[in-house]
Symmetry: C2
Subunit: 170 residues, 2 copies
């Protein structure tokens, strides 16, 4: 079978944030979908290696920040490829804490979706977190959401080894 076919699945680009007590963290993600309308329910898949995974497990909350295509790698790169364990990803980033306590990123973002975990599915290397939407607002509805295709082809974004669609070089 030709696993490169899986690269033809369409995704957007998001920063998924969470908290753990008074600590906050966030990571780049493309694996975000709405899975049911009423109540509005979102689903994300997160690598077990990521600090954000630990934070979501402990706090039971996450927030999906919808990145716009105004963003450059300098705006979002710090949220990927580095761990929040030894680096403050929010140092140069304008944000506020949401109602669920997870950070909402404010610059060049389309909007955000705050969620409360209602179910989890163990998927080996990754956990699927299913979250009920507890709040969602536009930040700038005139902006276009960034697609994964744009991130990859135009921004020359790299594929994380913890991505759900990572394939080991042969």
């Amino acid at each position: 079978m030709d696993l490169s076919t899986l690269f033809k699945i369409t995704y957007g680009m998001y920063i998924v944030s969470s908290k753990n007590g008074d600590k906050i963290n966030a990571q780049l993600s493309n694996t975000v979908v709405q899975i049911s309308p009423e109540p509005a329910t979102m689903l994300i898949s997160v690598s077990k290696k990521n600090l954000t995974h630990e934070f979501i497990e402990k706090s039971g909350v996450f927030t999906i920040n919808i990145i716009s295509d105004l963003c450059e790698m300098t705006d979002i790169g710090m949220f990927g490829f580095r761990t929040g364990r030894d680096f403050n990803k929010f140092e140069s980033c304008k944000y506020k804490l949401g109602k669920n306590g997870a950070p909402i990123i404010l610059d060049k973002m389309v909007g955000y979706v705050e969620c409360e975990v209602i179910n989890t599915v163990d998927c080996g290397s990754h956990t699927v977190f299913i979250g009920k939407v507890t709040d969602t607002e536009m930040i700038n509805s005139d902006l276009e959401p960034m697609t994964y295709d744009y991130y990859f082809k135009t921004l020359k974004g790299k594929l994380s080894k913890n991505a759900t669609h990572y394939q080991k070089p042969e």
Copy 2:
């Protein structure tokens, strides 16, 4: 909260097919993601009202057909908004049966992903089916996958009342 924010989530457009004995059916879907890399695992969310839902539950298999942006509404419209209960969706459509028995659509498609259900999550109006990839091939890798945005804005595709992001008019 402003639920219109949820329309800013990015999706692709797919035809999800399945079988039940010697019967086949398929439906339009935007809710398709890869949730883990090894083994490659896909996730879809399907309305319980749909015949394809019944077929996936019974057969334990589904196939994701990746629609290209060469498709017009006349190529894909018959897979949405009508039920396969009283209408043969495949009458004017070139297809073959895959290894899992579900139909693979051949014209103007980028490729396909055959899956075997390994887990299901009840999400009220919808069921999330998690499927291990059992086969996947390109049909035409030069074609661009159709995005939901293109379907909605360029093809003027309608929002199904059974979509995961459907919102009742106020």
